[in-house]
């Protein structure tokens, strides 16, 4: 187990390093490089940047500097937001995104798992058809469509929900629905198919042959096995939630990191783009490692190498 964890963490570190490297060199593709292209920078800032990153030095040297300081959580100063470091912007904006994203993940799991189970247990009945149709449509609708449709009906037409910001609990409703829509639909499908698979397994027949009651068979023998694929989906779901937040935060004007990232791209705030990319990528990668390790714990079949 320890060996597996070490191996997994090493792979994650390599991946994060790859992302950081890729980000750095991609940014240098922009004419003039990330730190020089903006004429609007004041001479003082320019001087500070040069001092900090040693812009006169060869690119490889700058790359080493950037990676070492990034490893210490220092992504430099924002080019557009004067006097603020990239890290301070991330630490300020990220909790907002995390709250919306976390709620969405929670909603997706609490709705998706039971509904998927119901569909599998009522296979071929009306409940299954309804859930399957909803799930199939759910994974076909891009998040921006959900956002705008919700906004139009509940925000504009009916006027019952606020369309901007995150001041009250009510403000969370639409962003969370929009963000959890796809993962909920996906989990419903995943859970349904995995439950159907489990229901056809020989050990379910053994459980019935033991004389166990339906509820016990379902909760003890079926659910524990059927839920395993959902555990593996948690990683991708998190990645989806982060990217989904770009759109959702843009549309609902939420002061989170996703919206900040899009603003940084439109405003060519290179340091912020680099910092945010590396931060979010690290988050997803670390969460994937955690999920993988949890998976090994819940599924005893996986041999720990």
């Amino acid at each position: 187990m320890a060996k597996y964890i070490v191996k997994r963490i090493l792979l994650a570190i390599v991946t994060i390093w790859a992302v950081a490297t890729l980000t750095f060199f991609l940014m240098n593709l922009v004419p003039g490089g990330p730190f020089l292209s903006e004429k609007a920078i004041s001479p003082q800032a320019q001087a500070a940047l040069e001092a900090k990153y040693g812009l006169d030095k060869p690119m490889f040297q700058r790359y080493l500097n950037y990676v070492t300081s990034a490893a210490h959580g220092d992504f430099g100063d924002s080019l557009k937001q004067r006097g603020r470091t990239v890290m301070s912007i991330i630490t300020m904006k990220f909790p907002v995104s995390a709250r919306v994203g976390g709620l969405s993940v929670l909603v997706a799991l609490t709705l998706g798992i039971p509904l998927g189970c119901i569909a599998a247990l009522k296979r071929g009945k009306a409940a299954d058809s309804v859930i399957s149709v909803v799930a199939t449509c759910g994974i076909a609708v891009p998040s921006f469509v959900i956002c705008t449709v919700l906004m139009y009906f509940f925000g504009v037409k009916l006027g019952i929900l606020p369309t901007m910001g995150l001041e009250s609990a009510k403000h969370y409703i639409m962003p969370v629905i929009a963000l959890s829509f796809y993962p909920t639909a996906y989990i419903m499908r995943l859970m349904r198919s995995s439950m159907l698979d489990v229901l056809g397994q020989d050990y379910m027949r053994t459980a019935r042959a033991k004389g166990l009651a339906g509820g016990k068979i379902l909760f003890k023998h079926a659910l524990r096995n059927a839920i395993l694929p959902v555990v593996t989906y948690v990683g991708p779901m998190l990645a989806y939630t982060i990217t989904g937040s770009f759109v959702v935060e843009k549309i609902f004007v939420i002061p989170g990191l996703g919206g900040e990232f899009i603003k940084a791209i439109n405003g060519r705030d290179y340091t912020l783009i680099m910092g945010t990319t590396i931060f979010l990528a690290t988050l997803v990668i670390v969460m994937n490692v955690v999920v993988d390790i949890v998976y090994k714990i819940v599924d005893p079949r996986i041999q720990l190498k």
Binding site: Y203, R205, T206, R208, G211
Partner: protein, 333 residues
């Protein structure tokens, strides 16, 4: 107390698939006394397992019992509710499945899966159930039971897992043990061990066994009574001696001819049964074996053969036997 532990009369059961009605069991009758061992022999799809599962109320969807009486240990199975059945399953009737690799739940320990059935049917507490589980593992010949109880199925070999399945089946000392091809998925050496274990346990615990298999060798060594099934029917029924030394049905004869023997001459070849099993979606009008039968007669293709009795136990459903009777009758006139 009824005379028989198991008394199935004229059972009919069909699977209603989207493609149509599959007549899985047609007029199947089986009787078994306490402590007896019955072998049901037949090829895949002949209805051996379906018969046994229906006795436990485990008929899989979309199967439906259409007629007949199923009596077990004084219970009328066909009239029982699911809740009443649950009290019997794992308690009075137990079953061992074909594939021990998939029959145990992969995410729970062996101990958990054995104690589960003990706690369900007895009022033992956790500690007592665990002690009983340990005892059971010893009974089925698993060493280091304490260690095994904490292990997961994937950590055990196939033979070991089948022993665990047997331990689960025997946990509540059932009156009837159904063994559904218990050795098919195992290595040959392990097969012999498992069969030996089952016979040993039968002598020790005195339960009846229904042994479902396609391997005549297995039934020859274990079973007092043998039912040969073909296409959802029992085509011949008798004692082991009847079946092996005096087979009447052409299918039984074919089966026996296809067993490799050590005492035959060097160049004698095994004789396979030609053709493929019938499609139960479109069963033929006459004897289902007729299309593959060397001795098929015109009547065989037209009409279902009636029962011909040979003594108290032995009977067959074959027109050839009827022909003999017919000719006997004709010569008397």
């Amino acid at each position: 107390m009824a005379e028989y532990l198991v008394d199935i009369k004229n059972e009919r059961l069909s699977f209603f698939t989207p493609a149509g009605e599959v007549k899985a069991l047609n007029d199947v009758s089986i009787r078994l006394k306490e402590g007896e061992v019955l072998g049901i022999v037949g090829e895949s799809g002949s209805g051996k397992s379906v018969t046994a599962y229906s006795l436990m109320g485990l008929t899989a969807h979309p199967g439906k019992l259409l007629g007949g009486e199923l009596q077990f240990n004084g219970h009328e199975i066909e009239h029982m509710t699911e809740k009443e059945m649950r009290k019997i399953r794992g308690n009075e009737i137990s079953i061992i499945f074909q594939d021990p690799m998939t029959s145990l739940n992969p995410v729970y320990t062996i101990g958990n899966q054995i104690t589960e059935v003990i706690k369900l049917h007895t009022d033992k507490d956790s500690a007592q159930a665990k002690a009983r589980a340990k005892e059971l593992l010893e009974l089925v010949g698993i060493n280091e039971p304490d260690k095994r109880l904490k292990q997961y199925p994937h950590e055990l070999s196939g033979g070991m897992r089948q022993r665990v399945m047997i331990a689960i089946a025997l946990a509540c000392e059932p009156k009837l043990l159904i063994a559904d091809e218990p050795t098919t998925a195992l290595d040959v050496t392990i097969q012999a061990q498992i069969l030996e274990l089952m016979m040993e346990l039968k002598d020790k615990l005195g339960m009846a066994i229904i042994m479902i298999t396609h391997d005549l060798g297995v039934v020859a060594s274990m079973c007092e009574r043998i039912a040969v099934m073909y296409a959802g029917r029992i085509v011949e029924y008798g004692t082991a001696d009847d079946i092996f030394y005096n087979p009447k049905h052409q299918y039984t004869k074919g089966l026996i001819r296809s067993i490799p023997r050590l005492d035959t001459k060097e160049h004698e070849r095994l004789i396979p049964i030609e053709g493929t099993p019938v499609d139960l979606l479109n069963p033929p009008a006459g004897c289902p074996f007729a299309p593959r039968c060397d001795a098929a007669m015109k009547i065989c293709l037209r009409e279902m053969p009636p029962v011909t009795n040979f003594g108290d136990v032995h009977y067959t459903k074959c027109w050839l036997s009827q022909k003999e009777e017919f000719e006997k009758g004709a010569s008397h006139e």
